[in-house]
Symmetry: C2
Subunit: 204 residues, 2 copies
């Protein structure tokens, strides 16, 4: 096969994979773990079941890849949006607000269904534990970066980790009802607290 | 029926109800929502299926009552433990640590399974939403009380709500792996931050 023929095929394969990953997250967020089979995801993505299984032999493979991919997309978006924010007053609140938006969106909802399913399903658990530690590290690093603080300063690491845990809690609180009004107040107040608590290195 | 005969029967009925509630929380925490039927809970509690259904006609009734009852038990425990704590340094960290313990225990795990199931099951959702708002208010009030702060001070409400969200996030982070070492660091650091951020009314 010549290069000219091979490349479009690789592009198509990559596009199919991406559609499957997006459909998996959407389906998990909307109908939960039990209702999200490889067939359901393939149908939602407009891909044949065979093609889906070529990319992802098992459900756990598909789910882990989906959450990982979507996390990378969201973190890249946060970094891009944060880079456009001015320094100074309001920056922290804008960042914590963006974080809260991510944790109340479909990606976190999908991850929540996976986590809870994994707590009673050993094969899934192993895969999700590996994924969770990778995703957690990435989110932590992105947050340090946009907040312009260094982990080498004592206390910063735990402060920032606590903010990520708070964002997870906000996501949980938004699962069954619209919690946005209460959330706005918490985001504002915790941003003030962070501005006092975080030793800023100045403009990064 | 005379009073002398009626009372022991009421006691027995109350004891049966309590065993069912405890067994429901245990089962939800250990095997999840799908595996926790009224029959499973009745067997675990050593009660007949008929007796269980006399107390709780539906699964949703049983689960909502179970989480409510166990929350009241835990909050009473926290209040009792907190009352025995000395004022001054270390008090906040002890309180936040106790809170984190509750949110990483079987009660939170059971609630998590219910919340996630309720997000895709409308009949359960209605019941859990009512429960969640009641439980959330109770936990918030208990935390204000033991931290000896007043909601009338601007910012206190949102600060304390954020701590409850952080505790929820810590509970989620402990679902699949033992997160206790990381959690200890966050509890310590955020207790320092809270000691700075919360305007204390002095000894309560």
């Amino acid at each position: 096969m010549t290069e000219a023929l091979k490349e479009p095929q690789q592009d198509r394969s990559r596009a199919t994979r991406q559609r499957l990953l997006e459909a998996a997250v959407e389906s998990l967020a909307e109908v939960g773990y039990a209702g999200t089979t490889v067939s359901v995801v393939a149908a939602r993505a407009g891909v044949s079941r065979g093609a889906a299984q070529h990319h992802f032999p098992t459900r756990a493979d598909l789910f882990a890849a989906a959450v990982e991919y979507m996390t990378e997309v969201r973190l890249a978006e946060i970094r891009a949006q944060a880079a456009a924010l001015p320094s100074g007053p309001g920056r922290t609140e804008a960042i914590v607000g963006m974080l809260a938006d991510v944790y109340t969106g479909p990606l976190f909802r999908a991850a929540l269904h996976l986590w809870v399913a994994a707590s009673t399903e050993e094969a899934l658990r192993k895969q999700i534990v590996r994924l969770e530690s990778h995703v957690g590290r990435q989110a932590h690093r992105a947050l340090l970066e946009v907040l312009e603080v260094s982990e080498r300063t004592p206390g910063v690491r735990e402060t920032v980790q606590g903010v990520l845990d708070m964002a997870r809690g906000l996501g949980l609180a938004d699962l069954l009802t619209d919690d946005s009004a209460r959330r706005r107040g918490i985001v504002r107040q915790w941003s003030h607290i962070l501005d006092q608590a975080l030793p800023r290195s100045g403009a990064a």
